[in-house]
Every structure is written in C-alpha cells, then in structure tokens.
C-alpha cells in the first residue's frame, strides 16, 4: 500500500532541489511569457510529432535513405541488448578503444557504458554532471542537473581519487574536469551522442546542449555514433527548427541553448570538416509497443525536464527514488512501460494528479491522464472488497448517514489515542502532520431536513 517515494531526508539536498527547480521554473516562465505564442508552438509541435507517429515506418525509411545518401549508416535496434551490441560492433569495426560521450537519456536507458567497458572501450561522459555521476557510478538525479545531489566537497573527493588532489572550489573543479576532458576529446577515436530531434526529409539531426561538449563529441573524433529513440524524428526540417527552440524554452527559458548543432551525415573521404563515419542507431526498446497502446502520447516527450521542475512530488523527493533513469511525472509514466519491474506500477500512485505537469509540458502531454489510466489498469474492475463497499455506501443515502453515525465516535476515539497505540489503518498515515477531522455524526443533509421539519412544526 505505501508508496516508495519519500521526501529527501537531508536538509541540504532539499534546499538544492528547491533552489535548482525554482530557478528553472522562473526561467521557463520567461521562455513562455506569451500565451498565444506558447499555444501556437504547442499545437505545431504536437502536429509534427503526431504526423511522424502516424506513419513511423514510412518516415523512418525516408530518414534512413537520406542519412545513407549523406554517407551515414543506419542501424535499427529492437531492444537495449541489440542496441548495445550494435554500438560495440561499430566500435570494433572502426578500431575504437576510446570514446567520448555527450549526455543521452537513451544511452542511460540502454545502460550502454557498462557494455562498452566490458569489451575494454573507455567511454567518458563529457557533460560535467554526467562526468561526475559516471565517476560515482550513479543514475542522473535530474535530466539537466544529473549531479545535483552531490556537494562540491564530495565532487572534490571523487576527482581527487580519480585524477589529482583538488580543492572543493567550483572553479578549480571545473578547470580540472576541463583538463581531463580536453585530453579525452583529443584522444578519442569516436564520439557518441544522443539526438534531440531529427528531420526525416533531410536526415538532419539536432543536438541541443549548454556546455558545447556535444559539438566536440560529434565533430572532433573520426567516428560519430548517434543513439536515438524511435520517437525522436519529425517529418521536416521546419519541424526540427520548431522543436530546436521549443526544447530550450521549456528547459531553461531561452529561445536557443548555448550550442545548437544541426548535423547531417559524414564528411566521407573529402577534405571537409567533420567525422569520417556517421552511424545512427535507432532504438525501439518498447517504443513500438507504447505506440500501439493507449499510452502513445508519452512518445511526444522531449525530455525537457519541465514536468520535473514543476511537480511538487519531484521537488520534495528528488530523482533517485523513482528507481531508474527517467524521473518525475514523465518517469512515472515511462518507467513501468519501458522497464516494467515489480514495484514500478506504484509510481502511478506517486502523484496528487494536481495537473501542473500537463500545464507546463511544452507538448501538452496529459501526464495526469496517463497516470490515472495506469491506476485503472493496475486494478481489475471492482478490485477488492473495500472499493465495492465504499461504492455502495456512497450510492445510498441511508447507508451513508448510517456510516457517518458509526464513524463519528470511532474517529473521536482514534483521535484521542497517541501514535503508539493507533491501530493499523489509513488514519496512521493521515496522523503524520494532521489531526483527524472532527465529525459530529449528523450530516448536513440530515440536519437541514431536521430543521425544516421543526419549522413546519
């Protein structure tokens, strides 16, 4: 019955969460200050994605053709294991032993790094936050702030252990990370990135980053591997432009992030800049199944983190308790669909259905509706005796009044007991921070009827 999410226990972490998400909420409000523009963005972006999702086979064939026209190779992976094998095989063929990575939620999802390490490929995360959690062996705490839960002191210890002694000073830490990463960038034979959005009409992919590391990864090494979830493409370059601005607006309130790269194919054998080889790995891993289900709307998700930043549950509980790489309201929908481990179903209960996630989603995804659907599917019709009894009680006036008469003295009795002597039941949870409500036993309707009878005399 009890859900797995709890408020974070450390005061420092609670403050970090409040501060970080609070800043992002403010920024998002600036990015969407014009309601008419917001509505128009949302309508156009939804239409583009829905068009793609209505004919994915057609669009993916077109996309593959364009990518190969530009000298790239396209690989389809049915599940996470196949995606890992394909990346490993690409690396083996191209003689890659050192690889640099841009931030990619899809790579986190398919747990790529351990597979690369297992065959002796050094894979280095180059987004500063991802770099930190890779050293610590953790999953991202937040999409934009993967290492939000780590203090600078902890980061300094981590860096000192792995590289060289360093003070817990943000400037010194960043300088050290930069030094280490520069070397890795220059040594790497391959760069691996995610894909934020990709246009099927031209085979152009967009990378939206703030540290510039994605651009390094995709242009400097001789091989570029892009790992993309099946839901990411849109039909046209115009759609790609739209999503390229919608994503940073929703995430950090800016019309563009610091670095927006639009990349197409490989430089081939010509003298032009860019990687000699380009590989696009398109990952299904459950997405086709979601597309065929009543949850297909979640495939519109851009991973902008807006729903995390506004969700009162995420703000109080943080990312790790969601138990996987996707967190917040979108994580509560995606995790049971993509992973489906025991206990993941509980995530649908971890919401007050307050609706703020739907309101702030740049794609207008009905996240509370999807969570509610999961709740309904998790329970067979008239599951258990309690809902059935409650339904009878709430459908008959006499039963309801009778129940109120019985409940009033019970509630009174319970409210006089201290926590230690309280029998098991929902009142135990309720009594955390709340008194039980006072109840007279006579209902409003009963009292109104009574006074009416009296005046009639």
């Amino acid at each position: 019955m009890a859900g797995r999410l709890k408020p974070v226990s450390q005061e420092r972490l609670a403050q970090a969460l409040a501060g970080f998400t609070g800043r992002l909420r403010q920024l998002r409000a600036q990015g969407f200050s014009d309601p008419a523009l917001t509505a128009s963005f949302r309508a156009r972006a939804r239409a583009a994605k829905l068009e793609y999702l209505s004919r994915p086979a057609f669009y993916l064939a077109r996309l593959a053709e364009r990518v190969e026209d530009e000298g790239g190779r396209v690989h389809f992976a049915g599940d996470a294991a196949e995606a890992r094998q394909q990346v490993v095989a690409i690396c083996a063929r191209a003689g890659v032993s050192r690889l640099v990575k841009g931030k990619s939620m899809t790579c986190e999802e398919i747990e790529l790094n351990p597979a690369l390490e297992a065959v002796g490929i050094q894979a280095t995360e180059t987004d500063l936050g991802e770099f930190i959690i890779q050293l610590a062996g953790e999953t991202p705490f937040h999409i934009l702030g993967p290492a939000l839960h780590r203090t600078r002191r902890e980061i300094a210890e981590l860096f000192s252990r792995h590289f060289e002694p360093v003070d817990p000073d943000p400037k010194a830490l960043t300088a050290l990370a930069r030094k280490v990463l520069r070397e890795r960038f220059l040594q790497a034979e391959a760069g691996l990135t995610g894909v934020n959005v990709m246009a099927c009409d031209s085979g152009t992919m967009a990378l939206v980053t703030n540290e510039g590391n994605g651009r390094f990864c995709s242009t400097l090494p001789r091989v570029h591997i892009a790992v993309m979830g099946l839901e990411k493409p849109v039909p046209t370059l115009g759609d790609l432009a739209l999503i390229s601005t919608l994503l940073p607006r929703a995430a950090v309130g800016w019309p563009l992030s610091s670095y927006v790269s639009w990349l197409r194919g490989a430089a081939g054998r010509s003298a032009g800049a860019g990687p000699r080889e380009f590989h696009l790995v398109i990952v299904d891993n459950g997405r086709s199944r979601i597309l065929a289900s009543d949850y297909r709307e979640i495939l519109l998700c851009l991973r902008c983190s807006s729903c995390l930043n506004h969700c009162p549950i995420y703000i109080a509980a943080g990312g790790h308790q969601y138990g996987w790489v996707y967190t917040g309201p979108m994580g509560s929908v995606l995790t049971p669909l993509l992973r489906g481990e025991e206990g993941d179903e509980d995530l649908s209960q971890a919401s007050t259905l307050c609706g703020v996630c739907r309101e702030k989603c740049p794609m207008g995804i009905d996240l509370p509706g999807l969570l509610l659907r999961r709740r309904q599917e998790a329970r067979p019709p008239l599951h258990g005796l309690l809902p059935r009894l409650a339904a009878e009680m709430l459908s008959h006036r006499e039963l309801f009044q009778g129940a109120c008469r019985l409940a009033a003295p019970l509630l009174k009795g319970l409210s006089h007991l201290d926590d230690k002597h309280l029998p098991p039941g929902p009142w135990r949870g309720w009594r955390r921070g709340r008194r039980l409500p006072p109840m007279s036993g006579s209902t409003l309707l009963g009292a109104l009827r009574h006074s009416k009878d009296r005046t009639r005399g």
Partner: protein
C-alpha cells in the same frame, strides 16, 4: 443586489461537506439565498465518485456516478462548493455512464448545468461582489488545483474575493502549488503529503496571514487538519465561508 427570484438551483453539497464540513454547506446555501435564490437540496444525493475514480476504481466510480445522476435527475442548475467534484461531473461522468445510454445522455445534460459556487455566482448570476467583509485581519487564498486547473476557473474566485470589503488579500508564495492532499495519495504517501502540507502552511505564514482561505473542499479539510496539528494560530476557512463573510 439584484434579486433573481426565478432561480432554484439544486445544491450538491459533496460527501465531504455533508459528513465533515457542514458549515461550508450552510455558508454556500446562505450565499445563494442572499442572492434571492431558493436553493433546493436533492434528498437522495451523496457523492459524485471522484475519489474512487482517481484512485483507479472505475467500476466503483461508475456505480456512484449512476446514483449521482439519479439523485440530480431533472435539475435545471446544479451548484457545488467543490471545483474538483464539478470537474469530475463535467468531464468524467458522461464517459463513465456510457454502458447506460439514457443515463449517459442525462449525465451530459447535467454536466453542462453544473457549476462551482463562485463560478455560478460570478458567471451565471453576474455577481461582482457578495457584499461581505474580508476575513480579518490578514488573509490569503490557496486556489486549489481542482478549481484552478481541473475546472480551469481562475477568475471567479479571485474577482469575488477581491471585492470583499476591508483588508485586501495577501499574495501567497507559490500559490498554485498543490497542498499535497490528492485523495488516496494522502494515505499512500503520508510523508510526502505531509511535507507538501507543511510547505503550504509555511507559505501562508510567510504571507503574514492569520486566515487561509481555501478554494476546494478536500484541500480545505487537509489544510485545516494540518493547521490544527501544527499551527493552531492559523485559521483555515473555505471559499464559501469567506464569500459569505463568515469569520469577518
């Protein structure tokens, strides 16, 4: 105030008001009567089934929805002090009752005639001010997600509250943040629920408020039980009580 003697709206108290907060129902009925109306209180009513529906018990919610439609059958207008219950009636009842086409048709008709109290007063009867005094001395307002988001009513309560005579409403920090009630959530996730509640009470304190007016019934009970435990100085009242000038 202009009297509108012809209106005899049916009053939907909601199960929570009926059982746990009769003072909210009385305040709402007084407001309607002062406006020159003669509200009726259909005798068979109990609940709309919102909480069962949101907990995922669709079949149980369907059973309750059916009884609700039967209780309000024939009503020309329905008024309720709960925005979330009104949102449930409007959005979900017709769909839930699809297995019974006649009931579903009735539900659709009733849904279009069901209003939250402040919405009804402001939008249907054209009231700009209830003529009551503000709850003194320092007060603020929690808009409630059910009224504000689910029903999308973000004008009527503010217009009527800001027309109250006396001390103006104090702005509540992060006013639109959920109070952590969420029906079944409050007992499946008691620690998180209590944390959100504590944050909301702290925001009211930060606003310097002595009285916290709450837009919806569930949140009103949640916040008043929370204040009773940890902040007895803070008085929590429902929107209907504030508009009726109670506690002024």
């Amino acid at each position: 105030m202009t009297a509108i003697p012809t209106l005899r709206p049916a009053f939907f108290a909601t199960c929570l008001v009926d059982a746990l907060a009769p003072q909210v129902g009385r305040a709402a009925l007084r407001l309607l009567a002062r406006r020159g109306m003669r509200p009726q209180v259909p005798a068979r009513q109990v609940c709309c089934g919102q909480s069962l529906f949101k907990a995922g018990h669709s079949a149980a919610a369907r059973r309750v929805a059916r009884a609700w439609v039967q209780a309000f059958s024939g009503a020309e207008l329905i008024v309720s002090p709960s925005g979330s219950c009104v949102a449930h009636v409007r959005r979900n009842l017709p769909g839930l009752l699809e297995p019974w086409p006649e009931l579903a048709a009735q539900a659709r008709e009733l849904a279009a005639r069901t209003f939250e109290l402040s919405q009804f007063l402001y939008r249907v009867t054209g009231l700009d001010s209830t003529g009551a005094a503000a709850p003194s001395p320092a007060w603020t307002y929690h808009p409630s997600c059910g009224l504000h988001r689910a029903l999308g009513e973000d004008e009527a309560p503010y217009r009527l509250l800001d027309a109250l005579a006396g001390e103006p409403r104090r702005p509540l920090p992060e006013a639109e943040r959920c109070c952590g009630f969420g029906g079944s959530f409050s007992v499946t996730h008691p620690e998180l629920s209590a944390r959100l509640l504590a944050d909301k009470l702290a925001a009211a304190r930060q606003a310097g408020a002595r009285t916290l007016v709450v837009g919806d019934v569930g949140c009103f009970l949640h916040l008043s039980c929370g204040a009773a435990q940890s902040d007895p100085e803070l008085r929590v009242i429902h929107l209907a009580e504030a508009l009726a000038g109670e506690g002024a």
